[in-house]
Symmetry: C2
């Protein structure tokens, strides 16, 4: 819409496209709720008041809020494409997300970012992005790409790029890693916000981190931690993901003094959570139930993230803002009954409206360059004692155990009687078939194998199994699917979920992915695992930045020593 | 300072330059006041806590706040250069101003903006600028320049330019004037804030104005006006200038809901006011006396304008922010006892410290292209009745009177017995010696003449006098001074103030300008004027955007009809 058109429509010289009448309008600027009509032209609010319009929708006295904003999310964690993610969350009132394509960038580099940008066009909500700052996440594994400041720079010209993504390499910041400094200097030069990720950072190290200009953090777990960061100039994103949930703990920090620099985010939320609990709407409901003023809860989902990211045209219902609205009946239990995006209704009562079209999927290059015939899972036994990863239920950390090697014909093997299961991480990018091998306890498999191409943060293929043959069968299946998850018993694929988008995301609706995930977890339980989500646990066994013992394609990593260690003691 | 240095200093690897110990630190992010020490390196805060430092300054338990920000000011109104303005206001706690060089741009165009930008270097505070959006202010007068969007565009690259200056041509916005649309479109394209100026605008016209993205206003005079604008997405700058003072009226609008989008500004403040009352510090004191929480009052002078203009490195005491501080003893009567700019003390107890150097004045082209010999002040009488401007004390508006012409030898003359004084506006830019002539009542001159090159907004030379000869003598003096003010009686220059910088500003200290202004007003009182500030009144007699009857170089302007009208009825 041209400026001339917006002015003409605001003046009433030309009719509005839509007039939403009889709303109780939540004004995030003044904190007031005012009865009124909202005029919309070409997807933008042009005025509040009496206007001629081509179409009139009566809100019958219901509340109308600006559409919700997720200040920080990895869409990859929802295991679906941008199209399917958009359709799922817009139905729950989210009309803007600030997504960090960190996972797909670790797999496909710039091609992954480009894929996400292209996928974001013509969706029923605004998908904006920060640029992944930490690809690869560490030097102790092989990722699909290595992105330097010069690789990121051209992307900043794209209108969907709002800033630099979470700088999770906080040691790299406080130890002045040149690559990290380059990326921060680039974002500073361009005047773009830089998101942070600094769990537990405090004192002088926090000062060093904040002094670079990094201006948000979504990793706070304690009120004192959040207050210290807030006072250092860092905006606090309160997170409720599937694994990490901080709203209860950080609730005391939200006050009339602090809300302008606080906001909501989901970070990583799995299909089941989004479908059963909701998205940002669920955080608002939870906060209001805990006693937060509903207007403040809404501001933290609208005005605050818009201000933080410098998004002048979202986060409020006012002239010149995008006509993104959420309509609901009760302030004490905000459930989106109607959702508008750019002036068009997209969803009612949590369900997408049938007229909402789904853009075609964007082609994406394959990310798996592997042939299982080249893989050898055998481990010649060289000593009677081995380092073993101890997996813990609902945890991303592990312990490091020392156990007796199970030796058969000179080879170290799984021993299901002692819950000692062979684990391998197969490098999927270079075609060199690099493989790290080790053992895990705690998965509880009695037979069969489980395999996944979701393995943080480099997303090589991780497989755990009772026999080498079953491990190979499982990896074969993942290769055939171009990525995904599967459960194998003997020569049989019990069930599988293809994730053809970078080995991370399905191209199917979120509901189908959820059903298939349930089947996978059920099949894994039948193999004997007691874990509540063995695939989530599995996916973190390869993440070498979280203690204590992890496995990458380079081998076992002692995270505390930040080095690769031998399997045999 | 490089990022590497700031990180090293924050970590304590290298000593700080300065440690301010035992301060009660006002944290604008959390609203808390915390005891602590502030470490400064290379002009930036690097941390709060115990640090080694080359120098230690003990605040002895006094409060320390971020340096104050004036969100909108015309330095020209202080009648001194950037250097002298900076020295005056930093002593009062102001360490950043957002100045709109509207007046000098009307005189010198791009050369005026360039002069201000160059003058801002190496001053004891940060002088940032918005780009004048309305040069010339109207088409009914001859200004020194005409600035289109293409003229402004290159300036946006300059690091001191933060946005587009107040769009006072609000009719041009709501009537879609192409030049205005171009300037707004330019600022939008570059993602820069656009300041507003829309007194009394309401309803659909306000919606049209706000829908363009203009995001501030400093012209509110009533609480309901401010609330309506705030709810339309416009940040409210509460103004206390010399003429227009709105703090009392707008005070009820400030609340825990609204403060994040409200801030203080002075707009136009004369030397006497700055020297006797203060600057932003005076507004904070006044607001706190009226009952505002001191932290909120300080935030409106720090965090809020910094957020509004996207200034990430000022407005707070936190790592990575400029070390701009104000130290004071009482929250209920905040009087700057020490002022730091970039880590260096600049002032104590309202007085500049002797070590603060004064950069050399920047050369500026002359703006007066006139020879008084070419001027003819005579007015052949063509009718017995004339339109007369009625000047009103302390008002920028005038009335339009109809009076009998005083005719001598066929010429219309002044008649001091009826307080009918001849008025002329002489165009000073083109060398064409255009002159508008008329009469004013209310000035009260019994003899002599007063003359000024400050005449809003085009700043042609305005002169009022009892005789043509005295008017000519006065204009001669202003030409000789390359601009300024003078009072003439007969052939004698009673007193004069040279304003060699664009005919608007002195190159002398503000204290000297104040003294000279007092002398001028006293001399004018001796000529008979009852007005409290006859030069201020005079300067608005040429402003053809404020009712009712004004005089420009093109002639008498009926502001309500927006047209030039004849002197004789």
């Amino acid at each position: 819409m041209t400026l001339e058109t917006v002015v003409a429509a605001a003046r009433g010289d030309i009719p509005a496209d839509l007039l939403l009448v009889n709303g109780q309008i939540i004004n995030v600027f003044s904190g007031r709720i005012t009865a009124g009509h909202i005029a919309v032209k070409d997807g933008y609010v042009v005025g509040i008041g009496d206007y001629d319009a081509k179409k009139v929708t009566d809100l019958a006295g219901r509340y109308v809020s600006p559409g919700f904003i997720d200040a920080h999310v990895h869409i990859e964690s929802a295991m679906v494409s941008v199209a399917e993610f958009s359709r799922a969350v817009v139905a729950r009132g989210t009309t803007t997300v600030i997504a960090d394509p960190h996972e797909i960038a670790n797999v496909l580099g710039c091609a992954g970012i480009q894929y996400m940008l292209r996928s974001a066009a013509d969706q029923p909500m605004d998908c904006l992005f920060t640029l992944p700052s930490c690809v690869p996440a560490t030097a102790m594994e092989t990722a699909g790409a290595r992105l330097k400041a010069a690789d990121l720079e051209p992307f900043f010209q794209h209108p969907r790029i709002v800033g630099l993504g979470e700088m999770m390499n906080y040691p790299g910041v406080v130890f002045k890693d040149p690559d990290v400094m380059d990326k921060l200097a680039l974002a500073r030069r361009l005047g773009r916000p830089m998101d942070g990720h600094a769990p537990g950072l405090s004192g002088r190290l926090l000062s060093a981190y904040a002094a670079t200009g990094i201006s948000s953090d979504h990793e706070c777990t304690r009120p004192d931690e959040a207050t210290e960061k807030l006072e250092a100039g860092i905006c606090i994103m309160v997170r409720e993901g599937t694994a990490a949930r901080n709203l209860d703990d950080l609730f005391p920090v939200i006050s009339p003094d602090t809300w302008p620099r606080m906001m909501w985010c989901t970070d990583d939320r799995h299909p089941h959570d989004i479908l059963s609990k909701g998205h940002i709407d669920a955080m608002i409901r939870k906060a209001v139930k805990k006693g937060l003023d509903p207007i403040t809860a809404i501001r933290m989902a609208t005005l605050c993230p818009a201000t933080h990211f410098g998004l002048g045209d979202v986060g409020a219902i006012a002239p010149g803002k995008k006509a993104n609205f959420v309509v609901f009946s009760r302030l004490d239990d905000i459930r989106p009954e109607m959702v508008f995006f750019r002036g068009h209704p997209q969803a009612e009562d949590g369900r997408l409206l049938p007229h909402v079209t789904r853009p075609a999927e964007i082609p994406i290059p394959t990310s798996i360059h592997l042939s299982s015939s080249a893989l050898d899972f055998s481990i010649p036994a060289v000593s009677p004692r081995i380092r073993v990863i101890r997996a813990l239920d609902n945890q991303v950390v592990t312990d490091c155990d020392i156990m007796d090697t199970a030796i058969r014909a000179g080879m170290a093997e799984s021993d299901v009687s002692r819950d000692l299961i062979k684990l391998a991480v197969v490098e999927r990018y270079t075609g060199h078939h690099g493989i790290g091998k080790g053992f895990v306890t705690g998965l509880g498999l009695k037979h069969g194998a489980i395999c996944s191409s979701v393995a943080h943060d480099s997303h090589n293929i991780i497989v755990a199994g009772a026999t080498d043959a079953e491990m190979k069968t499982a990896v074969d299946q993942v290769i055939r699917m171009k990525g995904g998850l599967c459960v194998v018993s003997g020569e049989t694929i019990l069930t599988a979920l293809p994730l053809p988008i970078a080995g991370l995301m399905s191209d199917q609706p979120m509901e189908q992915v959820e059903v298939q995930m349930e089947r996978l977890l059920l099949a894994a339980k039948k193999l004997g695992t007691p874990l509540s989500d063995v695939f989530m646990t599995l996916s973190f066994l390869a993440l070498p930045v979280i203690p204590a013992l992890k496995l990458t394609d380079r081998g076992l990593v002692d995270v505390e020593k930040f080095t690769v260690v031998p399997l045999f003691q």
